[in-house]
Symmetry: C2
Subunit: 122 residues, 2 copies
DNA sequence: GCTCTATATTGACATATCTCGAATCAGAGT
DNA sequence: ACTCTGATTCGAGATATGTCAATATAGAGC
């Protein structure tokens, strides 16, 4: 199992620089920028369907061919998978002919943390 | 005049038509479309800062003047608040001279549900 | 080497989004 | 009535994003 960039490669891992609960305190500009990258990655119906298809697939992973049936061209699917990977939401790995994707649960959890109620102030 | 609607007014309330956990099953096209509207609303750093400023403000509410200090013009702030309101994330109410915004916790909770691990399948 | 299949990248175009200044609306108080 | 202030809407320009067809890359197998 080698890696085809097991890790994302931009300034990704936005996770590490954001993610306190929204109601804990006003987000800093940097935190907001990092968090926005994550939410932007989920702000497209095709990407949500790809992510959901992978997350719900057997063993939590799927090759591109398993999830390509979303109504757009193959390059477009590839483009969206790349965006999800660059956001840190997906991890990819080549095994022989196929490339398998799976969800990075840490990133998903970080996003959930932002949305969590934290300590209600009222 | 459509009034400063306390309730959103598009086909909003996307909440009602989406939101199963991502890993439960592949999202339908309609569910993905509805959920994407929600995530798109959070996919901007200014909107995240506005939402966070409101959520963390005293009593969980704030007037525009309380949160306008995010580095963009006042019309731009208004535009972003409107987008958050149309997504169902904010509720607005005029009281005298000021208009107060507060977070709709149900919408936030629905988004959190999508991200939740649900039943891990592997 | 060659070919076949699976996936990624490039380049171009159309649409969506963010932003601003200017204008407008709404309520409070004189 | 007028004016002042808080907030929204309008119109336009710049940038970002989604999409495709064409091309390229990578591995398997002959």
């Amino acid at each position: 199992m080698r890696a085809l960039s097991t890790t994302p490669f931009v300034d990704e891992r936005a996770v590490e620089s954001c993610c306190p609960p929204l109601s804990e305190r006003p987000l800093s500009s940097e935190e907001a920028e990092a968090a926005a990258q994550l939410f932007k990655a989920l702000g497209d119906p095709i990407r949500l369907r790809l992510l959901s298809a992978i997350a719900s697939h057997k063993d939590g992973e799927a090759c591109v061919c398993d999830v390509s049936d979303v109504g757009v061209s193959q390059p477009t699917v590839s483009h969206h998978l790349r965006r999800l990977r660059e956001a840190g939401l997906l991890i990819s790995e080549r095994r022989g002919t196929w490339i398998y994707y799976r969800v990075d649960p840490a990133t998903l959890a970080a996003m959930g943390r932002i949305l969590s109620a934290a300590s209600a102030k009222a």
